[in-house]
Amino acid sequence: MAKPQPEQQQLPVAQRLRVRYAKRGPMRFTSHRDFARAFERALRRAGLPVAYSQGFTPHPKISYASAAPTGTASEAEYLEVALHTPVDPEAARIALDAALSPGLDILEVRVAGPGPSLAERLEASRWRVELPGVSPSELAKAVSAFLAADEVMVERLTKQGRRRFDARRPVITVEPGAVPDTAGAGECAMMELVVRQGSPAVRPDDVLAGLRVVAGLEPPVPPRVTRLAQGMVTPRGEIADPLEEDAAIGQAGPWVAG
């Protein structure tokens, strides 16, 4: 008996949209998989003409780029979604944002243009780390020690097992500062980091582990971390907008927000 074949062929890709979205407030506790499920449903609710993969279990064609860890807020997450009919990107942004829970916010949608892929453009991240219960001066001292070191070895449990790696080298800049303390009165420490993407990806908690190694910094409560930006690093150490070269206006097809 011949293996059954799916009767229907899926339509070819006509347009690729690049999407910047945020995970805010309580929604930062959604995992990447949680977001992916919610986003697929949002595509269906918005009625967007999503292109599907072939086969018995067709999947919508979505590629996600370097998702922030669960528990970390973000203003700059990116994905690319393929459509079988072109749409107006701003109309798609409004429809998708309305179809997602508040706190999962669609900030920007562009039509993918030529040039490097989205993943290639997301070279580094800017993070903001608030440390309730830690004094700004204590952090500043720890940061100085961290930056003065050539190498700060830390350990983390990854999917491949326990790994030991240098948390210092991918860190481009660290700027310590202060914010009002949510855990008590007065101010607490805050820092903004620019960290280059690599393997293993060095994340803010690895830098915090590094601060513990070099200066014994132990935050009394879990820090609040937000990813502020992702993109290419400019010669001045800033992060460039990865969607800058993609078109904000597309050729709208027959699609109307559902």
């Binding site: 899926q10 499920r37 609710r45 829970s101």
Partner: protein, 651 residues
């Protein structure tokens, strides 16, 4: 006075626990209202983990109906995992709702839906974390009224100490009437406090307040009588039945979780009730009569529900979905509407006949043939007569072979172990049946690439069924039979056995121990409360999860608590009841005539079958006349029209 959210305190704990997303709320369909703008405030709980509780239909329906009332606020809470429970105790964070993270204690009514008795210890955790006294009599006017609902509420006696009231049967109308009583009582300035409110609630049909009934026991440990202890309280409490499901098309705005849950689909009940008469099935007995939702309402609900939720799967639920009078038209109509949209349809199939395969084929038109499930429940023809699962071996094999020849590679068969009158041989016969299925399937398809899975669990006798008098088999007996079955599947003792047949059969089973405890809780009386409390004090949580369940803990708690009453664990489980015994739930009226149940029990022992009253004359189970209800079925003769569904591939 506004009730403050505890989210800020909780937020600091969430980075430290597993799957924090389950505690944040924010689902599509979730409702957050202004506390001070409402007068009656409900919190509903499903006493299991969020991933299991969120999809629960009962909670979703009541949540939506209650929140539709402008002056009513309804939020939800679920059982927190032990990692968060520990942190909440350390940091003084109370049991909270996921919607607005308000403390459960601040609400007027706390409704808990029990699909299974194994959730009882989780009720105690939630009460304790909420700061509500476990013992209902110690509660004050500052505590919510704690209500139990769901199928287990048909015998709430084991948790009678911990609840203020139970609601029997369908909740739609009862919840609104309870709301009215509370609204009125609050408007009058809460006269008479908690006691007066409970006394007013007993006048709502279907509401049972255990404290208004006294239970006395005979010397031998059996119940002597259960009687009201004050005037104005009915001697029996009758269940509620929602008639005309087309008037109650809920859920309209299903909750769409961010977290991963056990069912990710838009579910619509296509009918309630079942008169197939399977004698082990409590759901089929207590939800009578059959009430169908019409094909047009089902079509409308699916259309709106899918569009609203963005779910890619639709489940057509009921106790035996293929029995809807217009199921063929429903399936083909929906299949046509959603053809080419990547929305899949599912029909939990339990009936063993070829028609079921026609339906499944219709629903999987897009080419997917995942798995098909049948529930013969009993391995031998004889035991199937005892349980009234009317399917012959010939039919069963023919049905499964039809599934194979229509492209299904994998068929799952459900069975029970420990049924009344069961012998080792009845269970071992399951292996023979599975062997026949594989042999016939190979012959018919010419392929060796077919499999079947035998899944078997222990039978638990439940109240309000013909088996309510039955003795349970001991866990030793169950485990022994499960082992014999495993050996028989692999060909033990059979000459010239083709081992490849054994390898084509998967085997899944559950040990007998948790079922024995479920049996204790299902048919227990008020004396079992002490056992539940002890187990909980010793750390009992999430008893429905094998990794959390401890049989030893329950056995030890029974040994500590029950001897003072002259009874023990065996007395509640492996003891057969007499016809004249007062059962703990006799004062709770499911509509079934106890004399009919007894006759059906005798018929079971005599291996006599009972037809379905939808297609044969009434057999006087008692439900329709005593509840003033009637069978509501089609056909309506209407069809589902083609539909413009967004997201469809243009042709």
């Amino acid at each position: 006075m506004p009730v403050m959210s505890v989210f800020e305190q909780l937020e600091r704990l969430l980075p430290l626990v597993s799957k924090p997303v389950q505690y944040i709320g924010g689902e599509l369909g979730a409702v957050v209202k202004d506390w001070d703008a409402t007068t009656v405030r409900w919190v509903l709980m499903y006493p299991d983990a969020y991933e299991v509780g969120l999809p629960n239909q009962g909670i979703q329906i009541l949540y939506e109906i209650l929140n539709e009332q402008p002056d009513v606020l309804c939020e939800r809470t679920y059982a927190v995992w032990p990692d968060l429970e520990k942190l909440m105790r350390e940091h003084g964070v109370p049991q909270f709702t996921v919607d607005a993270h308000r403390p459960v204690k601040a609400f007027d009514l706390f409704g808990v839906s029990f699909a299974t008795e194994l959730g009882y210890t989780n009720l105690l955790t939630a009460l304790d974390l909420a700061g509500i006294p476990l013992d209902a009599r110690e509660r004050t006017d500052d505590d919510p009224i704690v209500l139990a609902g769901g199928h287990a509420a048909f015998n709430p006696e084991p948790i009678a100490d911990f609840i203020d009231a139970a609601v029997l049967g369908d909740g739609e109308e009862a919840a609104l009437e309870i709301t009215s009583v509370v609204r009125q009582w609050k408007a009058e300035g809460r006269p008479g406090g908690r006691d007066e409110l409970l006394f007013r609630l007993v006048r709502v049909e279907g509401v049972y307040v255990p404290r208004f009934y006294d239970v006395t026991y005979a010397e031998d440990g059996r119940i002597a009588r259960v009687q009201p202890n004050r005037p104005g309280v009915p001697s029996r409490v009758a269940k509620r039945t929602t008639m005309d499901l087309d008037k109650w098309p809920y859920p309209r705005k299903p909750l769409v979780p961010l977290a991963e849950t056990v069912h990710e689909r838009y579910a619509v009940e296509i009918f309630r009730g079942c008169t197939r008469g399977c004698r082990f099935c409590q759901a089929g007995m207590i939800t009578r009569p059959v009430r169908e939702r019409s094909i047009t309402t089902i079509g409308q609900m699916v259309r709106d529900g899918v569009e609203y939720s963005g779910f890619s799967e639709v489940g057509l639920l009921s106790l035996s979905s293929a029995d809807h009078s217009e199921i063929g038209d429903i399936c083909s109509g929906l299949a046509t509407q959603y053809e080419g949209t990547n929305v899949s349809l599912s029909l939990p199939s339990t009936r063993v006949d070829a028609f079921n395969i026609t339906l499944a084929e219709e629903l999987s038109r897009n080419g997917r043939r995942s798995g098909l499930t049948f529930a013969p429940e009993g391995g031998s023809e004889r035991i199937r007569k005892v349980i009234n699962k009317m399917v012959t071996e010939k039919d069963l094999i023919r049905t499964v072979v039809t599934a194979y020849t229509h492209g299904w590679r994998q068929v799952k068969l459900y069975f029970m172990c420990g049924l009344p009158t069961e012998t080792d041989d009845d269970v071992v016969q399951i292996a023979r049946l599975a062997h026949e299925v594989i042999k016939a399937g190979r012959e018919a398809t010419g392929s060796r690439d077919i499999r079947c899975t035998v899944s078997i669990g222990a039978f638990v006798p439940k109240p309000h069924t013909p088996f309510q008098w039955a003795a349970m088999a001991t866990p030793e007996t169950i485990n022994h039979r499960l082992k014999l079955l495993k050996q028989a599947i692999n060909g033990a003792g059979q000459e010239n056995f083709d081992k490849s047949i054994g390898r084509a059969i998967g085997y899944r089973y559950h040990d007998g121990e948790p079922s024995l405890i479920e049996g204790l809780l299902a048919r227990g009386d008020r004396r079992v409360a002490g056992v539940i409390r002890r187990v909980w004090e010793w750390g009992g949580r999430f008893d429905g999860w094998s990794e959390h369940f401890s049989f030893q803990r329950w056995v030890e708690a029974c040994a500590e608590v029950l001897p003072q009453y002259g009874v023990d664990l065996d007395w509640y489980t492996t003891r057969e009841r007499h016809e004249d015994e007062v059962l703990p739930w006799d004062h709770l009226d499911s509509g079934l005539d106890k004399r009919w149940l007894w006759r059906d029990w005798q018929d079971a022992l005599a291996e006599q079958e009972q037809e379905d009253c939808r297609w044969s004359p009434c057999f006087d189970c008692g439900v329709c006349p005593s509840m003033d209800t009637e069978i509501q079925i089609g056909p309506t003769g209407r069809k589902l029209l083609p539909l413009a569904v967004s997201g469809r591939r243009p042709s």
